[in-house]
Amino acid sequence: MTTAAAPALLEDTQLSSRAGGLYRHQNIVTGLIGGIGLGAIGWALSHQFLQGSNWGTDMVVTVTMAGWVIGLLLGIGAFNAPVLWMLGHDQTHEDELYLAGVGQGPRRYWKFCTDHKVVGVQYLIAVFTIFGVGGTLAMMIRTQLVSAHSSFLGANAYNAIVSVHGMAMIVATIIMVTGPFGNFIVPIMVGAKDMAFPRLNALSFWLLFAAVPPLLATFVLGGVDAGWTTYAPLSVQAPPAMDAFAITILTFAVSVTLSGINIIVTVLTMRAEGMTLNRLPIFTWGAVIGSALGLYAMPAFMVGMVMMITDRVTGTSFFVAAVGGSGWLWENIFWIMGHPEVYVILIPPVAAMLEVVSTFARKPIFAYKVTVGAFIAIIALSIMVWAHHMFTTGWAPDLNGPFMLTTELISIPTGIIFLCVIGTLWRGSIWTRLPMYWAYLFLWNFIIGGVTGIYLSDVPADNYFHGDMFVTAHFHYTLLGGAMIAAVAAFCYWFPKVSGRMLNERIGKVAFWMVAIGIQITYFGMFWEGFEGMPRRVAYYDPIFLHANQMATVGAYLLMAGFVVLLYAIIHSWVHGRPAPANPWHAKSLEWMVPTPVPLENFLVEPVVTADPYGYGEPEPAAPAAEPEREPVPVGSAETTAGEPV
């Protein structure tokens, strides 16, 4: 092939048999052993010494769940590096290569692996799993509600299912784009070799992994009967399941915080030469802006849960009115988190979807700078609107007017997003491949979701609609119909790069129509329920709501079937699909310029960026940045200058 000086690929490096140290022996199995082991030890010790106190069972559950989380992280090797640091040792370069998965083949997906592409796929599997759990619970809810007094679920089981459905979906939607694609795609998109803090990246994933079992454990600990919003004082009185729920949230909040820091620092400091902020793909902006807002929201989530735990485990009275606390304290702190959090959910998928719209309309992003400004305006405003969830609480009636103002103001930058989409579509060359189908569905759904939000922002109208199914329909339209559909668009778009295969579009389009129609039927049924006055979170309802509920349940079954068909398409294609070329969509951002599968550290030659990735229709002689073919070329050869075509 070449002379003896030809370099090998990084992932083919032969490491010594001691590279990685303790990590060589650590994987998900040792993690589970550590988690179950330390959880059991925690259970035994707390049961022995704390059970007799006034809050014994809650203490035991809290300690056990905390032991699970710490034990899992210990077993998977997350603490190896910090402990080494404290003892004055450092990881060698060989250790770092081992951590990046060199020499381990598929086994690296089961370990603490710092390669951002591995972490991205791990997140992807986690997202599918959590959506599967949340979706199954949703079907149980809708099955219960198909008749006015069903005997399918008891009242406590229903409440427990509603709570876990909500929390699982919140977890899944927060990470559904920043997890898989914030990790896999963003570093490549900015021309970096990995994330800023690869070990922190792996830690974020394994924290997420640790957070899920306590959430599921709530079902066997008495069930959380207070919804995912766990209003106090009901939640202070809830069974020990609530302690497990709190541990889930604390763990998850740390995961999201670390992941957010990682994304922001990566984009700020590791961009390739020539990648100015003006040339940054809009998805990267969305990931950074969404993560920044997450950094604001997650500490609030943690404050609330810490106080919840102390109220339940030590008898403090943050939320117990008789002893000086207030349910309004909980509600304020929760919604200070809870409203920004929906934009943490929304912005990354929408930004990813804008990439899809641009690529499949073969046109630049319309009003790029204004759109970025709109994202920033949305997150700035979103921290000032939280009490629109509290219009009817009676906590501060004089503040209802100001919060109505700030809430209605958010519709202005949100409107700019629509301008960007339709401006990009205007006179475009619409290429109707599967990702673009989902982008159009987003457009349809998000208008409905956004408009119905405006009804709720009007205080007198909210005085009717608060706490009824209209609210549920509104946020499902925006979060599922909007954010999740945009995430599916992003998934179909990047599937060839992540999996190396093309997604079967025929089956995908069948799934698309089932999902699209299912959404309309389900949630218009729910709007109907809300107009008629059906409260939220009820297991049994007045028979006057029957027809609306039947409509919603029928729609839900269609919707679920559509997702199952999509899942089938994904699995079938991942295993048997046509191998994908490096750039099947002929897009222009950097992730499409690298080969598929993407090599370790992404770029064989550091790219130099000369234009933004939206040069469709513009007379450029070359793609914005290019990389030679995968065969590395010898030093000194004429074809070795990066940034210019071979």
């Binding site: 800023a196 620092v265 404050v303 102390t310 008898g315 403090t316 009275s317 008789a322 002893v323 030093v635």
Partner: protein
């Protein structure tokens, strides 16, 4: 600037920051780039912690203003008109305020620890870094350990417990926050001391000391803000 060969298996340099300089692949990360990353990350982390702190303060002032059922400190509880605590026991007089001495001492110790690390970073430029940094880190660590002991002792000396109303709950929450920050500092300063003694900072690069100085200073700020709140607005 561009590299066409892929480098791997580079050498480890014994430098305090703890990374092999050669990162492999087509990219070389300079020390300045790494420092920028760590600095931004720390600002973001401190930002999140600041929000946590702000919401704790919100909790304090909101519950104090609401004074639900009069049970912030139970000013209206009397023998005739007893209030109840978190376990249903009667409270017949106002909950006493915690003494300010321990609070002030802990805050002062944390400030001293921060100053010691700052001194270590600054003086190391003029004299032997190994001795200065390990001395500064070691004494700062000792100071923080003393603060931890004082904080635990204060907990035992409080004239109230967690069940005695909103003031008591918030005060103890603040103590827990202080303790958490002190605990983190114990870990970090231990590492700094050990690494200094092993010569990790001999090479003239003590950016990591600066990072730790930043974080120690932030912990001092947190402790002082919490102390001021409980002393001035009991």
């Amino acid at each position: 600037m561009t590299t066409t060969t892929i480098e791997h298996g580079g050498t480890l340099e014994p430098e305090g920051d703890g990374h092999g300089v050669v990162e492999g692949g087509g990219h070389h990360e300079t020390r300045a780039q790494r420092h920028l990353k760590e600095r931004i990350a720390l600002w973001l982390l401190v930002g999140g912690d600041a929000l946590f702190l702000l919401l704790e303060l919100f909790t304090w002032f909101y519950l104090r203003a609401l004074n639900t059922n009069g049970m912030w400190r139970g000013a209206a509880c009397t023998k005739a008109n007893a209030c109840t605590d978190g376990l249903g026991n009667p409270i017949t007089s106002e909950i006493p305020k915690a003494g300010i001495t321990y609070t002030l001492v802990i805050a002062a110790l944390t400030v001293v620890a921060a100053l010691l690390v700052w001194w270590a970073e600054v003086s190391a430029q003029r004299q032997s870094p190994r001795r200065i940094i390990s001395a500064g880190a070691g004494f700062a660590l000792l100071t923080v350990l003393v603060a931890v002991v004082v904080q635990c002792y204060q907990f035992g000396q409080l004239p109230f417990t967690t069940i005695d109303g909103a003031y008591a709950s918030s005060f103890i929450f603040f103590m827990g926050t202080t303790l958490a920050h002190l605990g983190l500092l114990v870990f970090i300063l231990t590492g700094l001391w050990v690494r200094a003694r092993r010569g990790k900072y001999d090479g003239g690069h003590w950016f990591q000391v600066g990072i730790i100085r930043f974080f120690t200073a932030w912990c001092a700020i947190v402790t002082c803000v919490l102390a001021a709140t409980v002393i001035l607005f009991a």
